[in-house]
């Protein structure tokens, strides 16, 4: 370090000059990501709030709609997302230790899990399409009225459940699609060898996003699939 007023600092190209240390730069990026996730919590929060209010008022229709979802596909999808979160966490660890090949493999595995989730979700949506459970002019809950004679079902309130089901799983799936895009970007740069133990912030930040989307599903699964699965008396 020289005494000259235009001193040139000695650091790697990964450290932007307005940060003191790599550590500080990483903390700033992480904090920024958490602020963004805070806005995401409120974004999904509005939908969860609408869900809670209508579920309270139209519990019968919500319970019947919930019963019509495939609980096994839902459970498998939850597990797929949990496995993807593990590969993301191990991927960040591989980046921290500078294991390039392992990082690329783990990022690709995460993308595969992401596609598996979207594929299973697509099968579930197609089932709903065949059952006329997509809100709109061809909506019909006659099958639910027939299958659950013990439950009083109002067709328009039933439509409200499926509107929320498609809005919430749809918004979540959109986040998954964006997540797969982010991870494709990360895989490319990891393969190029851009991430080192000194600079892996994009992997860390992308990982935070993926885990957040996982957490949203952790709540969506019981709230949409498991409203009331008790044996009907």
């Amino acid at each position: 370090m020289s005494d000259s007023p235009i001193a040139v600092e000695e650091h790697g190209p990964e450290l932007r000059h307005h940060f003191e240390t790599v550590e500080q730069q990483r903390n700033a990026a992480s904090l920024g990501m958490w602020l963004f996730l805070g806005t995401e919590i409120m974004f999904f929060g509005g939908m969860f709030c609408a869900y809670l209010i209508y579920r309270m008022n139209y519990f019968n229709e919500f319970a019947a709609g919930s019963r019509s979802l495939d609980v096994w596909l839902g459970t498998i999808n939850t597990m797929v997302l949990i496995c993807s979160s593990l590969t993301v966490a191990l991927g960040v660890r591989a980046a921290q230790m500078g294991k390039r090949t392992l990082l690329v493999i783990l990022l690709l595995t995460t993308i595969i899990f992401g596609f598996a989730f979207l594929g299973i979700k697509g099968i579930e949506w197609y089932d709903k399409y065949k059952e006329h459970h997509i809100p709109g002019t061809s909506f019909s809950a006659d099958d639910l009225v027939r299958d659950y004679p013990q439950i009083h079902i109002d067709q328009s309130h039933e439509q409200l459940y499926f509107s929320l089901y498609f809005a919430m799983t749809g918004l979540h799936a959109l986040h998954m699609v964006i997540g797969v895009g982010i991870f494709a970007f990360l895989t490319f740069h990891a393969w190029k060898g851009r991430y080192t133990p000194n600079y892996y912030t994009p992997v860390e930040i992308g990982g935070l996003y993926w885990h957040f989307v996982d957490i949203v599903w952790i709540y969506l699964f019981p709230l949409l699939y498991l409203i009331d699965r008790r044996p009907l008396g």
């Binding site: 992480s30 209010i53 008022n57 459970t75 960040v92 660890r93 498991l226 044996p231």
Partner: protein
């Protein structure tokens, strides 16, 4: 933030716990616990979310207190949204049927 490198054994342990909790929540839903079905489902979901936040998202080892403050206040704001809306909607029907 995450200079601390966690052992992969811990990650696998968290993963297995999350998988077990997923199976438990799906099985318990079929048992009649009265109003506690929803409570159990939400408690399990919150445990899973906490495991992901603390370990997978490295919050337990975060050196930056500001990050923790952002997370806690985000959740607090969400609870304001949910609880104040619910107090409104759950008391409306009382006066007007």
């Amino acid at each position: 933030m995450s200079e601390h490198i966690m052992s992969s054994k811990l990650y696998y342990g968290i993963w297995i716990t999350l998988m077990i909790l997923t199976v438990v929540t799906a099985r318990v839903a079929f048992i009649d616990l009265g109003p506690f079905n929803t409570v159990v489902a939400l408690v399990i979901a919150t445990c899973k979310a906490l495991l992901v936040i603390l370990f997978f998202m490295h919050v337990k080892y975060a050196s930056e207190k500001l990050t923790k403050m952002v997370i806690i206040s985000s959740i607090f704001w969400l609870l304001i949204l949910l609880f104040l809306s619910l107090t409104d909607y759950s008391t409306r029907a009382l006066g007007h049927g």
